[in-house]
């Protein structure tokens, strides 16, 4: 039996070793999730959340999930009205300019961060300098590109930066600072409601790691606890000086991998708010929730872009082919059947949330966006037929259930053209790889493009997407007339005239069919009977501070 005894001993030791290796990293497990805060004045609600992709910093957060949090714990110079989207002064006392290029910004007195530190002009200037500096790797750095000195703090060619601060920013006194832009930009003040322009307290710079693990801002809520990857709890900040005080005691944001599970939790009464109703549940959501289901327009448009770097798509007559494709897509039917009316067929290249004054023009696309099989066939023939006899619509298959609608669009095109092989979907495995192929200009046909506005301005729907070499001009479309009109609009100090000029630029986009507009996306949300006054802002994010519990 000697062997057996030994074996027992070794097996035991190995089991211990296994347990040790497996739990080796668990020493600092100070997980304090679920603590419910202290001294709540109102009830606390729970809401579904997705794990933010990047560290939670104002200038580094470029997706909705992180933006949601920043919106709760920060207030900037301006704030977009949750209902109308209009940019209204928040911390800004006044923003003055005489030439649309030099701005003097006065910050309101009496604002503090939730740690007691005063919000001053310096809080903004330091934050913006941090955001623009290349060495900080901030993904929203380009928001500061119009400020003078950006090319020194953030050299585009990746060479060494020669300055740490923007020369265009100057602190005048405690409450005043000046901004000098490199070009005229009349709507610049209206962009300042974007999160990237939020002020930062000194603790952000002195103890960055501590700040990241528990961000400190100046909004109606303060972070109570943050367990990365699973839950972030914010509580009402009682000393908040703003008008828009939180109407509830706080919000627990819970990370869900799958929005179906979040919806199930809502049905079972374990969750109060789901701000992304899964596509599979859209059919039952009305019967499940009744009035507690919201479906309102958001500043999101989906389009099909084209690779203009590809000869086939950028030759004489190509615009007719593109227009023909647009006319072969039955938008009404697809938004009805696939999206259960959570999308609205697009008739321009902006979004209804802008409102008519803001630049949304219903029907600007005209016939080109109306389904007509005969016209589609004719246009494509006139334009020299589909390049290679077939279009492949490229999309990423990992998120957003894009496959369904791409297949439907292709079906529609095939039916319209009486050709089974006219259009096929071309899935790409991951979003990263999809972006990769776009960046490397590997697209051979139309591809899915979505645009969620940064701020409710018509400028934001046109310039970043269609201006020559703009940051999101994925198709590399370039048109001198369009560029000229955009420059003109930016220099225009009268807002109404600026909007009008932007619309002229949009007409250039239409005449060339630089991208096929598909539909405007709605924000959707469902909530429990425990809460009320739930609404979505134009960015399709719930207006948390207005929600009442109980």
């Amino acid at each position: 039996m000697r062997g057996a005894t030994h074996a027992r001993w070794i097996a035991g030791a190995a089991a211990v070793a296994l347990a040790v290796t497996a739990c080796g990293g668990g020493g600092g497990d100070d997980d304090s999730g679920g603590s419910s805060g202290s001294g709540d004045s109102g009830g606390v609600l729970s809401s579904s959340w997705g794990d933010p992709q990047n560290p939670l910093e104002p200038a580094n957060t470029n997706e909705v999930q992180g933006g949601k949090v920043l919106d709760m714990i920060f207030r900037g110079l301006k704030r977009y009205d949750p209902k109308t989207g209009e940019a209204k002064d928040m911390l800004a006392e006044k923003i003055e300019t005489t030439d649309s290029q030099n701005f003097t910004i006065t910050v309101k007195d009496g604002w503090t961060f939730s740690n007691g530190e005063k919000v001053t002009a310096k809080s903004f200037v330091d934050a913006w300098n941090y955001g623009a500096s290349l060495k900080n790797n901030q993904k929203n750095a380009y928001f500061f590109e119009y400020i003078e000195g950006y090319d020194k703090t953030h050299p585009d060619d990746g060479s060494k930066q020669t300055a740490d601060t923007l020369s265009g920013l100057k602190v005048v006194d405690d409450n005043t600072f000046t901004v000098k832009l490199t070009q005229k930009f009349s709507t610049f003040p209206d962009t300042l409601g974007y999160n990237a322009y939020a002020p930062l307290p000194q603790s952000f710079f002195t103890d960055h790691d501590a700040w990241l693990s528990k961000p400190v801002g100046n909004g109606p809520y303060a972070v109570d606890s943050y367990t990365k990857g699973s839950q972030l709890s914010v509580r009402k900040w009682d000393d908040y000086p703003g008008e828009d005080k939180a109407q509830n005691g706080g919000v627990d944001l819970k990370v869900y991998t799958d929005n179906n599970t979040a919806y199930t939790d809502l049905m079972a009464g374990n969750l109060d708010l789901v701000d992304d109703v899964p596509a599979a549940q859209l059919k039952n959501v009305k019967t499940d929730l009744g009035d507690r289901y919201i479906n309102t327009p958001a500043g999101i448009i989906q389009t099909l872009s084209f690779p203009f770097y590809d000869e086939d798509w950028n030759k004489e007559g190509s615009e007719k082919v593109r227009e023909g494709l647009s006319r072969a897509i039955d938008r009404d039917q697809i938004t009805d059947t696939i999206f259960q009316k959570t999308r609205t067929p697009a008739t321009d290249w902006t979004s209804p949330v802008l409102g008519e004054e803001g630049g949304y023009k219903k029907g600007l696309c005209g016939d080109a966006c109306e389904y007509d099989a005969d016209a589609a066939k004719k246009l494509i023939e006139e334009g020299g037929g589909l390049p290679g006899g077939q279009v492949k619509i490229t999309y990423n298959a990992d998120t957003g259930s894009h496959k369904q609608w791409v297949d439907a669009v292709c079906n529609s095109i095939n039916n319209a053209l009486d050709n089974d092989k006219a259009c096929v979907g071309n899935p790409v495995g991951t979003f990263a790889d999809y972006r990769n192929q776009i960046t490397q200009r590997k697209m051979s046909g139309p591809f899915r493009a979505g645009w969620q506005m940064d701020y409710p301005l018509i400028q934001n729907f046109l310039q970043p997407l269609y201006y020559t070499n703009a940051s999101s001009n994925d198709g590399k479309w370039s048109n001198a007339q369009f560029d000229k009109l955009v420059d003109q609009a930016n220099a225009e100090s009268d807002t109404a005239k600026a909007v009008e000029t932007f619309q002229k630029a949009e007409e250039v986009v239409r005449d060339n069919m630089a991208a096929i507009p598909l539909w405007y996306q709605n924000g959707s949300a469902g909530y429990s009977a425990r809460i009320s006054d739930v609404s979505l802002n134009p960015f399709s994010v719930p207006v948390y501070d207005q929600i009442k519990v109980g």
């Binding site: 296994l18 997980d31 999730g33 679920g34 992709q53 993904k139 750095a141």
Partner: protein, 307 residues
């Protein structure tokens, strides 16, 4: 015996290196992960270049791999894209998944083996046929169907459990997910035990033991079960690794933030550091579980010796 263990441990090295290299190459083939970091918009080239430099993505793959392995030996698993250390992610994910795996394994051992013994001793009786049909059903129904069905019935319709597991994931909340995770393996364990018991029940040593007049429970426990468990132990042992890695579906359904969740997130965001790190640990778990199984043979059957 000692030499056998040493040899086995040495054999692990090439397996370990090969497995990590393969994963490393596979994740890298998917392209530049930085491209997906800026959302539906191109990262500005300067920032992208600097991020690439910071994560070491600008170097050739072989160099990245060597650096990675070098760091690994100092316990440095790198940093995920959201700024968290991968070891930090592991510290939060592995305890949860280990708890889930323990629940699943317990279900396999307790229910699976018990059911196997009962059916093995009563071959052809209604109990046996019934269990066979049930296991067949369980094996043929995919895990996500079982999971979603149980979640809907127990969580929403009857309100017995919470449909999702909280972030602390205590044992109590993991019972149903554990059962779902174990279900398919449980069916296999039942069938394996049944066959093994049925075979050995006719063996000479069992007849001898019965003839000696030993009490029935003693015959079953000491003689029959001990000898019949060898294939079952092999199966359960190798299943540990499979359960930990294969928990992606179950973890997703019940919103458990364990290894499956981190792996899924890592693959989606093409985060080389997370994926390779987690898979590396899973490979280790697999290898050690296998070694344990082999060593357990000697405990179960002293005739098996290792030179």
């Amino acid at each position: 015996m000692g030499r056998y263990v040493v040899r086995r441990l040495l054999q692990m090295i090439p397996v370990f290196v090969g497995a990590t290299l393969l994963i490393f190459l596979m994740v890298n083939v998917m392209g530049d992960p930085i491209a997906g970091l800026c959302g539906d918009r191109e990262c500005d080239p300067a920032t992208a270049a600097q991020l690439r430099r910071e994560f070491g993505l600008d170097k050739p793959v072989w160099q990245q791999y060597l650096t990675y392995m070098g760091n690994l030996f100092t316990g440095d698993f790198g940093t995920a894209f959201n700024g968290q250390e991968v070891t930090e992610l592991m510290a939060s994910a592995f305890p949860v998944t280990i708890r889930l795996t323990i629940v699943a394994i317990l279900f396999e051992i307790v229910i699976g083996v018990a059911l196997g013994v009962v059916t093995g001793l009563r071959r052809g009786r209604p109990v046996d046929t019934g269990a066979l049909v049930v296991t067949l059903v369980v094996i043929s129904v995919p895990t996500f169907v079982t999971g979603l069905l149980l979640q809907l019935l127990l969580g929403v319709e009857w309100g017995w459990i919470r449909p999702s597991v909280s972030s602390e994931a205590p044992f109590g909340e993991l019972i149903v997910p554990g059962l779902v995770l174990a279900s398919v393996s449980l069916a296999y364990v039942t069938r394996l035990t049944r066959t093994s018991i049925a075979e050995n029940a006719r063996a000479d040593y069992v007849r001898t033991a019965v003839a000696k007049g030993l009490p029935r429970h003693r015959v079953i426990r000491k003689h029959l079960l001990r000898n019949s468990l060898i294939p079952v132990v092999t199966f359960i042992g190798t299943d540990i690794g499979a359960l930990m890695g294969g928990a992606i579906v179950t973890e997703r359904i019940f919103n458990i933030h364990g290894v499956g969740y981190q792996l899924y997130q890592g693959i989606l965001r093409q985060n080389t550091q997370t994926v390779v790190g987690f898979v590396t640990v899973l490979v280790l778990v697999f290898l050690i579980a296998n070694l344990l199984v082999d060593l357990l043979y000697a405990v179960l059957d002293p005739r098996i010796r290792y030179a």
